[in-house]
Symmetry: C2
Subunit: 314 residues, 2 copies
């Protein structure tokens, strides 16, 4: 069931008219206070403010091309970014959408979901509760579930980011990616398959992949800290886990203070706004939690910007 | 005295290690509420938050390679972005810098100048007064004046943006550029020389190039509105004016409300923070003040982001 490169090629063709090819920015050694060159993938410029439309469009368009969509449209549970992406995709494709969010979903993400015309539903205290509530609702309405990460079409869609990045920066040997439920890093692993080593970065408060790799299977982990709305899946997806075991070279944890520092550096030095989850991968480099090998060509995915920029100052 | 393409090539070589090659982002028809594709040049990701380091580095490095720099270092007058760029360049090159700013320079720009280690000096009510004060001071200290726009090396440095953009997006037939004193559009005209038509965009409150082209010579114009700190030169430079007469296809004026709307769209749809002057060129497209010909391939330079992002919301 894990996606192949062919699946990702097919996804890229399917979603090409609906997602942005986001640019890369090459930084020289010394920029951002880091002593090596870094290539940033500016995926925070994607539609709906995160990488999530890649998987959402691929899941929905593949279903439309197959059995077709139910009259009730689509339904999803999300900490916010996936919900905004599903709402955006539904709006573009003329579909009804219901999005279940937990209490920790911030105002900026709730507003995006509602602005895209979806029905926003309070779905309990945690993402897991929101998912259960959305599934109960889907059983009533028949709507198509668009899972936030644990579905082959979602993984293949997120994998298009790796396909695009490899074309833009074929020299990269190591790519740092923030991990929540593992849809992005799993999809990227299904593309790179070792062509570049993937470095997973999680907040100390959300160590789902770190703990799963240590245990040898997906296990329930803590959900807390400033990036929990984006990276706070309690447990990584079953589909991504073998890909992570095969192709994730390290699973790094960073403190919230390092994430906040990375957000501030991105604003001060680059005039980019990243949400905490969007700055988490960079944080591992800047705080020294991950030290690249001497010959590494380093890429970092900046994956989300759905946050209130108030508080960013020069 | 106007720069040639060879001068711009030389500038690109001189400053290449000090400025970022900023990426372009291609938007499909319909994005940002505009019915045609647009290629955005993301120059707001440049060092110090605007295009200005291109000209500042070229001016200073050319002087260093020639007669050398005085012990007093460099001095400039600026509404803010040029001052931040000169301060940044001076810090990188180990030089002393004094920056004279008028009263309207916003806090975000004053902070950048000071953070880069320059001496920040209150220079009167307007840019013209700050320039006069900086010249009086330079006569005392012997520091090298780095003019904000009216110097051949500054024009050639800004022209490197056009050289870079043409390489990234050779298909463009029309490029929209915000105009203040005219250093950027003048330098770009010296590169493009008609290969792409340049569309100048100014706020209604700062019509210096619009009025100069109407009068057939640089004339004093009003200075007001929300972009005055960036685009509020009272009069365009003498060096750029013949280039504008030859190569600027239209001089468009936009109301402040259109500039503010363009800033909000950039945040809502792209998660980019632009200052008013940085969103002015885009405003001309979005508000309909400039209507492209049917076959036009449209580029827009987003040229600055030195603003407080508070107030941007989903």
């Amino acid at each position: 069931m894990e996606p192949t490169r062919n699946d990702i090629e097919a996804a890229a063709g399917r979603i090409g008219a609906h997602v942005r090819r986001t640019p890369v920015l090459r930084l020289a050694a010394g920029e951002l206070g880091f002593d090596r060159p870094i290539t940033l993938k500016l995926e925070l410029l994607q539609h709906a403010g995160s990488f999530k439309p890649r998987g959402a469009f691929n899941r929905i368009l593949a279903a439309m091309a197959g059995a077709g969509l139910p009259a009730a449209g689509v339904i999803a549970a999300s900490g916010g970014n996936h919900g905004a992406a599903v709402a955006y995709a539904a709006q573009r494709l003329g579909l009804a959408a219901e999005i279940f969010v937990p209490e920790l979903t911030p105002v900026a993400k709730r507003a995006r979901i509602a602005d895209f015309g979806a029905r926003l539903v309070a779905g309990g205290a945690t993402y897991a509760e929101a998912l259960a509530a959305s599934r109960a609702r889907a059983a009533e309405t028949g709507a198509l579930e668009v899972h936030a990460y644990d579905h082959p079409a979602v993984l293949a869609g997120q994998g298009t980011l790796a396909r695009e990045l490899q074309a833009q920066a074929p020299e990269l040997t190591h790519v740092l990616v923030a991990t929540g439920g593992g849809g992005l890093i799993g999809g990227m692993a299904a593309w790179y398959r070792g062509d570049a080593a993937l470095i997973s970065v999680e907040p100390e408060g959300c160590p789902a992949l770190h703990d799963a790799l240590a245990a040898g299977r997906p296990v329930a982990a803590a959900v807390g800290g400033i990036a929990a709305d984006a990276l706070g899946a309690r447990q990584v997806g079953a589909l991504m886990f073998p890909l992570a075991q095969a192709h994730v070279a390290a699973a790094i944890l960073v403190p919230d203070a390092a994430i906040r520092a990375a957000q501030l550096v991105l604003w001060q030095k680059l005039r980019l706004i990243a949400e905490p989850g969007g700055a988490t991968a960079l944080a591992a480099l800047l705080c020294g939690a991950w030290v690249p090998p001497a010959a590494a060509q380093i890429g970092v995915v900046l994956c989300g910007a759905n946050t209130d920029p108030t508080g960013m100052q020069t």
